[in-house]
């Protein structure tokens, strides 16, 4: 059974602390080269490897990550 996940990051609220990047077991996330309105390099998914484990969302101090998951 395959598991597929997706993260939606509210980039305008993200402060680019990077805690989610260390928390992700599958190295899905990285800081963007671009900045948001506050000047932070926000977090974004860079590979299609998300398993919807919610680790990133659990450690996010600003609650900016929403996670979806399906079992295929």
């Amino acid at each position: 059974m395959a598991i597929k996940g997706a993260v939606v990051i509210d980039k305008e609220r993200c402060k680019g602390c990077g805690v989610c990047i260390t928390a992700c077991p599958n190295s899905v996330l990285a800081l963007s080269k671009n900045v948001n309105g506050k000047g932070y390099h926000y977090s974004e998914a860079i590979i299609d490897n998300c398993i919807g484990c919610t680790s990133c969302a659990l450690v996010c101090p600003d609650g900016v990550i929403t996670v979806y998951k399906v079992k295929l």
Partner: protein, 259 residues
């Protein structure tokens, strides 16, 4: 974005709770205050006690906690949150009064209020953020600052001769007969967040059952005060703070946990 096709309500596994407002928190990037706010709010949501919870906000970085928790709240003078919580919980014994305090607030200026509220066994929940420093005022030494740790007021590092020993106030409070549940947790990894959330849930359940004082210490980072990146600060916390402030239960069901 990857897999946009699965972004549907039926596949949702995590989103920010509505017990937190949509206000953007003023905390520094990566600060454990935000994470701890979120899990306190999640517990309040899961227990269905949003209309019963009363937050007593401290002075310190979390002074504006009442802008973020979507519950009734009162701001206390510095250190006095447990005294205010005493009054509120006694007036409204069926509600859920909790204080949210830093280490400067709880273990320095508020030591008397903290100790006496715990000694009286007030039926309150205390959430205690120990980041070893005064964050809000610019990183001065707190009672909990580690030996050797450099702060704005101990620029060469804390010494016993000049500043005395780091105060393990949580262990001290566990000695008091009024405390029912005392635990020390952290929020730097997903596993730690899950455990801390369980502990906070336990504290609120104890309050529902009128068991006396429950305190959850969260060993946290203050990356601005420590002058590190958030990720470095979490690593430093594990290597240094956890040695003096080991993670785990200290008192459960009114009995001290044997080490």
């Amino acid at each position: 974005m990857f897999n946009p096709d699965i972004i549907k309500p039926e596949n949702l596994v995590y989103e920010k709770t509505n017990v937190l407002t949509d206000a953007i928190m003023h905390y520094c990037p990566g600060c454990g205050h935000g994470t701890t706010h979120r899990i306190v709010a999640e517990v309040i949501e899961e227990m269905g006690i949003q209309d019963k919870a009363i937050c007593i906000a401290p002075v310190g970085c979390s002074v504006l906690a009442y802008n973020y928790f979507n519950v009734d709240a009162i701001g206390a003078a510095h250190g006095r949150a447990p005294a205010i919580a005493t009054a509120v919980q006694r007036m409204f014994p069926d509600r859920h009064t909790f204080t949210y305090q830093g280490d400067g607030d709880l273990a320095a200026i508020g030591t008397a209020e903290t100790i006496h509220a715990c000694n009286r066994g007030e039926n309150i929940v205390i959430i205690f953020i120990n980041n070893g420093i005064y964050g809000m005022t610019g990183g001065q030494m707190a009672p909990t600052t580690l030996l050797g740790m450099k702060t704005a007021t101990s620029p060469y590092g804390r010494t016993v001769e000049l500043n005395g020993y780091p105060l393990q106030i949580t262990e001290l409070l566990a000695e008091l007969p009024g405390t029912y549940y005392i635990t020390r947790q952290s929020v730097h990894t997903a596993a730690a967040v899950r455990k801390t959330k369980k502990a906070i849930r336990q504290a609120f359940e104890n309050q529902k059952n009128k068991k006396g004082t429950s305190l959850v210490e969260v060993v946290s980072n203050c990356n601005s005060g420590w002058k590190m990146t958030p990720v470095e600060a979490n690593k430093w916390m594990v290597e240094n703070m956890f040695v003096k402030y080991p993670i785990g239960d200290i008192k459960v069901d009114g009995e001290k946990v044997k080490k």
